[in-house]
Symmetry: C2
Subunit: 272 residues, 2 copies
């Protein structure tokens, strides 16, 4: 089956690195650097990369949709528009398939989750973040993450998360919440609460192996003052993000896209 994740955020926030880390495959090769004289883009592009991966013993076709240029211009007034149009055109093509006589083999190319990368300022959401999320939260499962979280101390992360959630609540933005079910066992409820308590995830990405002071080889980043380990839950929330996106809630993300987001869009489209 198929799963599509979109990544949105300013250039340099670690999007390609995190995607490579999440899916443990070099989906994004090292960026070829354009010379200073190269023409700079002036609009947001939509680029999709696919790969066949295996997660918990299940083979799936993964699509990652990147949005290069978002937030990178002096004037970003319309940088959300190509993204919303892309998501809606995927709904359109699904609707068209649904309406066919023979609808045995429907390809689900809709976006099931959108990772939104927040710059680690330590202050609050930027105007661009709020503008973007307000326009997308009714069309896609929004999963905000604090990018490059190794630049914030534990105390700064706690304050910053609280402030982001307050900004999200004040602007009535709906982000994806880990669902809890009635008749689940203690353990499943505890896991859901544990994941939910970390939102927005403070993540660090790395597709390189480094050596820690005590000689272990880990995925991480090495500084003169120490080594940060991506898979160490004391250092960042990467493991929790991976649990939410891939291990525990991939099915819920697909269902919510299909039963709620797509249905609402379809109703509005047919009524108008």
């Amino acid at each position: 089956f198929q799963f599509t994740v979109m990544v949105v955020g300013e250039s340099g926030l670690g999007k390609s690195t995190l995607v490579n880390t999440l899916f443990n495959t070099p989906l994004y090769p090292a960026k070829e650097v354009l010379p200073p004289s190269a023409e700079r883009a002036s609009t947001v592009a939509i680029e999709s990369i696919g790969a066949d991966i295996e997660e918990n013993g299940v083979r799936l076709h993964l699509n990652v949709v990147d949005t290069p240029g978002f937030g990178d211009f002096v004037n970003n007034d319309d940088s959300w528009r190509p993204i919303v149009e892309n998501i809606e055109s995927r709904f359109d093509s699904y609707l068209e398939q649904e309406n066919r006589v023979n609808r045995q083999k429907i390809m689900d190319n809709r976006v099931h989750a959108c990772l939104y990368f927040i710059q680690p300022t330590g202050h609050s959401l930027k105007q661009l973040d709020i503008e973007f999320m307000r326009r997308l939260h009714t069309k896609v499962n929004l999963i905000p993450v604090i990018a490059k979280a190794d630049t914030l101390t534990d105390e700064e992360i706690a304050d910053f998360k609280a402030r982001i959630l307050a900004d999200i609540a004040h602007n009535k933005i709906h982000i994806f919440q880990a669902p809890t079910y009635e008749n689940e066992d203690e353990e499943a409820i505890a896991e859901a609460e544990e994941i939910a308590s970390k939102i927005p995830f403070a993540v660090v990405g790395s597709d390189q192996v480094v050596r820690t002071a005590d000689g272990r080889d880990v995925r991480g980043r090495s500084y003169p003052w120490g080594v940060i380990e991506v898979d160490n839950e004391e250092h960042c929330d990467f493991v929790k993000l991976r649990q939410m996106l891939i291990r525990t809630y991939m099915e819920e993300l697909r269902e919510h896209t299909n039963n709620v987001l797509y249905e609402n869009w379809r109703t509005q489209k047919l009524l108008s």
Copy 2:
């Protein structure tokens, strides 16, 4: 005598922290956090704070000019304009004093240096950076710094610096260069070269004292994986920036402002 430094860069890049660290006084108290419902600014403001400090045994009056709002909006098309206007109005007021009959006591309120904070993306200068620097480099001594450099590994810093200098050269931007003199002794030339080789400075700021693993109390930032020390030249270029701005070249910065930048502006103004 008087020295005025302007700081420009997006919110959250550590400007107030660095100013407090450079002058070792809490010029900027901890920011009082506005609630999510508070009205957000929509234009760039110019705010000036003064303090009497002592450097190398010389008493001086320091002014720091902050530019809150720069680069923080969805559309930053004109965010450079209030800043250029402020710098020119200081030239205007100096010219007016120069033209007075009694010009014994001229107050020099001109901006002698502008610290420009570059976001540590690891890629290249953003369009906003280039737009701003191109408009300011003929009016003020531009000193670009890589903000929050503790987010970049040594290798990333080296690549990023090279790329920034290439972007600056390609756009014909003049940044302040540590001057070298003919008849200086070996030691002074070596120091000048050492400072020049670090430009743009990769800086880390901290107005808090933390304890290192071996028990020393230092100005720095403490993470689960280690402590970064602001005053340790292995960790960042803070010491070199302080040498350039305060110890070694404060006089040159004032002279270049007076003899070159102000004179060029005055000539153009009188000709037009």
